[in-house]
Structures are given as structure tokens and as C-alpha cells.
């Protein structure tokens, strides 16, 4: 089984969100970058497939050299090789296009992405990638079983679960539930040492079509202080919700 896992380099979940260059760029100063959590659920599932059913795992990211530490981490977790497409991501489409161009030169049975990155939250790349490659895809994927070249997967829908089946090639967009957080693999020293020797290939991007651009970022208006209500005066709370907030 030949698996591609697409990885996004994102700010740690507790990062302070600030912008520089006239609010046109994210301020990376003092920010720790991590593997996008949704991608990491997918990578972990891929490593399980590799361990139990046999698979070759390629991890890929689109980004500059600053993304290499997380690719090395993916290799330490268990991926076999890494590819960095040397381009600064502009929008979801250009990223999907760059990944698709690479995937078309390879023979992947299964492509795994996260359902969305926790920074731009676009949820664009998996669907666009599936659309460009014209392969079936399952988003919000919280369950995946493979038998030969057939897959069954579950998708979280509003208020329930949908179970689907498909044959390779297939793309899934992972979320929590595909594996649990306690299942995430913390690289050990052996994995870290091996990762240094595993191949990390840097390739130039193919043609790049940018469809959307960031004009600027804005931060939400600072919120007023909380109005505290006495626990013995619930009528006041109800009155505030009805007449001030108008939500009841």
C-alpha cells in the first residue's frame, strides 16, 4: 500500500495570534509550530496500517525550509520518506494544485490529509485535491478500515455518522476519532535517530494558480468584562438574557 500523508505546519494551539506587515502576515515570533492535529490523526492511522498491513508512507508539506522540523518529526513517528514542495502557500487551491501535480507522478493508493488546518481553517485542500485528481474522498473521516484495495470509512455528519465504501485510489480527510489523542505516537530516540537518515526530498512547485489572496487580517473587538450575577438572583440572569442579550 502506497500512502501519501499531507502535513500542514501550524502554530501551536495555545499561540498568541498577532499580525505584522500592516496586518497582512501572521506574526511567527515566539510561536512554536506543530503538525496540524487533524493531519497527525491521519499520520498515526497510516503508521498503524504500515505496521499491521504493510505500507510505504510518504509525508508531504508545501512550505519553505522552516517546515522541515515537522517533516523530520513525521519521519520519527514512522513515515518512510518526506517531500517538501518548496513554495510559500498562498491559498487552498494553489496548495492542492501543487500536491496534485506531485501525486500524479506517483502511484498512491491512499492520500490522507486533515479535515482542515487549525490556522486558516479553510477545509479547502482535501476536497480540491480530490477534485483535481478526480478520486473519491471522505471528509471528517473518523474511521477507516482497509482490506486489499477496498476501504470502508466513516464520516461524521451533523447529528450522526455515515458509513461509505470505496476502492483505491481514495482520499480521506482525517479528524479526531480516526485515532484518539492518546494513540498519537511520541517519537522515541530510535525513531529520531532513524529519521535523520530517511530521505527528505525538496522539489520545486509545478505551475501555481492563485485564486484568492489575503488582503489583511483583523482581530476581533476586545470583549467587555463578564457581568456577574448572584447565584441567588437567577431572575436577573434571565432578565439580562431576555432583554439585554435578547437570546431567549
Amino acid at each position: 500500500m502506497n500512502i501519501l500523508v499531507c502535513i500542514s505546519n501550524v502554530p501551536d494551539t495555545t499561540s498568541k495570534i498577532n499580525f505584522v506587515e500592516n496586518d497582512t502576515q501572521f506574526d511567527t515570533q515566539g510561536v512554536q509550530f506543530i503538525i496540524n492535529p487533524n493531519d497527525e490523526f491521519g499520520l498515526t492511522r497510516a503508521v498503524w496500517l504500515q505496521q499491521k498491513q504493510g505500507a510505504k508512507i510518504t509525508v508531504l508539506t508545501v512550505g519553505d525550509a522552516s517546515c522541515e522540523p515537522i517533516l523530520r518529526k513525521c519521519l520519527a513517528i514512522g513515515a518512510d520518506q518526506a517531500v517538501r514542495i518548496d513554495a510559500v502557500p498562498t491559498d487552498g487551491f494553489s496548495v492542492a494544485q501543487a500536491i496534485a501535480a506531485y501525486a500524479q507522478t506517483q502511484n498512491f493508493d491512499l492520500i490522507i490529509t486533515g479535515r482542515e488546518s487549525i490556522d486558516y481553517n479553510g477545509g479547502m485542500v482535501p476536497g480540491m485535491l480530490a477534485g483535481i485528481l478526480d478520486i473519491p474522498y471522505v471528509t471528517n473521516c473518523n474511521g477507516l478500515e482497509i482490506s486489499g484495495t477496498d476501504a470502508t470509512a466513516t464520516r461524521e455528519i451533523d447529528g450522526g455518522i455515515e458509513k461509505v465504501s470505496a476502492s483505491f485510489p481514495l482520499l480521506i480527510a482525517a479528524q479526531k476519532g480516526l485515532v484518539e489523542e492518546e494513540d498519537l505516537i511520541i517519537p522515541n530516540m530510535r525513531g529520531i535517530m532513524q529519521a535523520r537518515k530517511k530521505p527528505l526530498e525538496v522539489i520545486p512547485p509545478a505551475e501555481e494558480t492563485v485564486q484568492t489572496q489575503t488582503v489583511r487580517f483583523e482581530k476581533p473587538q476586545p470583549k467587555g468584562a463578564v457581568k456577574l450575577v448572584d447565584p441567588d438572583d437567577l431572575d436577573t440572569l434571565i432578565d439580562l438574557l431576555q432583554n439585554e442579550a435578547k437570546v431567549l
Binding site: I118, G131, K163
Partner: protein
Amino acid sequence: MSVLFFAETEGGQLKKNAFENASYAHAIAGQLGVAVVGICVGAENADLLGTYGVEKVIRLKNAGLETFTARAYADALAQVAQSQKAQLIVLSSSADARYLAPLLAVKLGAGYLSNAVALPTFEEGLQVKRSCFTNKAFQISHSAQAVNVISLSANAFGIHENSTNAQVEDQEIAAETSKLQVEEVSKVTGQITIADADIVVSGGRGLKGPENWNLVEDLATTLGAATACSKPVSDLGWRPHSEHVGQTGKPVASNLYIAIGISGAIQHLAGINTSKVKVVINNDPEAPFFKAADYGIVGDAFDVVPRLTEKLKAILA
């Protein structure tokens, strides 16, 4: 030219987000001086869209569209978008809409802007404000594409009435078939989902155990609200994962979010802070949630919540 919006259905009836999409699309069509066209699959009450200013609704009646699949729906929508010369297609942020939107955009060669929270402006293309960084910031995005797809955040624009008469045109089109086989759809019925709820009542570890969830459920039932929980609660198995809201769980964009016994970790707040009004009930006055909430009660949930439920029952009855 037209602005096309997708009106989703549940059990043959339009969903609330269909009316939000209709209101939003109607406002944009007004700005551009073009027609607004609704598209739905088999909605029995499609004419109701007229209430929100929609004069034309295309109702698809294909056999292949009875079960939702992203590929077939994206193809059907793309065909209608082309026949209606749509310059903009508005979708909701439901799980299904977010699933099909990127496929639709690729098919149409359209720009795709997700999580829109305001009306777009049109100057040398389209510009729209979208939420990002799990609602800790907004991105003003610009698209120079001739056709664009927008998915509108839940509860961001609201529902606005503009009564007119909607002409419903039934159509059948040959849509591509899915490469996926849908084996089974299991959905809770008769229960409001977090995605559709105006009010969400959410419980955390402060409730001490799953046996105390009647507090959350009773309050939710009284308010017609959906129930949710914090990450530790779903990790401990007290509540199903599907109720987990937060950064790695479901996002919440309700009008009112009531947090009971939830301290308010940054990852939790990231998932719920698009909710308009937040109420926190917690016995720890230092809980970070008090900094994010609009209204707060420092008190014991086991004392406060049942009394609040009783009072609300009396008022809302």
C-alpha cells in the same frame, strides 16, 4: 448573471441554514442588481424561500440525489450554476456543504471562500471577511475569479424576511454518480444537532460524572437546545465524541452558549467563541471562562442549574 444558493433539506423540509443562505444571497443579489436563484433537492416546502426574497427556486428531482454524496451534488450544483450563469454560489457551513464546496469550486474553476462571516464587497473581484485561527482572527480575502463559491458561517448573517412569491421549477438533470458507495447513515432523530441549534448547553468535568448529565439535559430540553461537552468529558467517555466541542471537536456558532462546570481551556474557547452570547456557571471564580463569557455565575452547578431550569420552565411554558 445570478447569485445561486443551495437550500439544504432534512426529511424533505428546508433546514434553517437554507433561510440564512437565502437571506444572504438575496442581499448580495440586491447589491449586484442580479437575480437570486435557490436550488434544492426535493424540498416539499421550497416555496417558503419566497419569504426571504427568493423569486426562483430550482428543485432537483433526480433519483441519484436521494442520498447525499458530495460528488453527485457538486456536479448537479455545477450544472445549475452554469445554466443560471451564476457568478456566486452560496453554501452553508454544514458538514455536507463544506464537503461538496471544494469539489464544486474545482468543477467551476471558481474561487472558494469558506467560513464567511459578512456580506462580500465587489471591487475588481470579490472581497469577503472570513473567520480563521479558530475564530481568534478574521481574514479579509480577495478573489479575482469570475465565479466564486462562498460557504457562510452558521448564525453569522441571520435570517431576514423580504416577502415575495417563489416560483418553484422542478428539474431533472443527469448528474455524475458517486465513486463512493454510501452503506449506512445513522442519525439521531428528534434531537436538535449542535450545528443547527440556536442554544447549546454544554457540560464539563465540574459535573463530576455522567450520572449528573440530567442537569445539562433538563436545561437543554427546557430551552430547546442541543447538548455538548468539553474535551475531558468526551475523553473520559462520559459523553459521546460527537458532543465534544472545541478546537479538535465541533465548532459552535449558536446564539447562546451555556457552559456548566467548564473551566474554559484555550482550545475549548477556540471552538465556541463564535457563539454570540456566552454564559458560564462555575464554582471557581478564577476559571478562565469568566474572561471569555458575557454573563457569569460563580456558584455550585448542582444548586444553580436545577433552579435555573425550574425558573425557565415557568417562563417559557
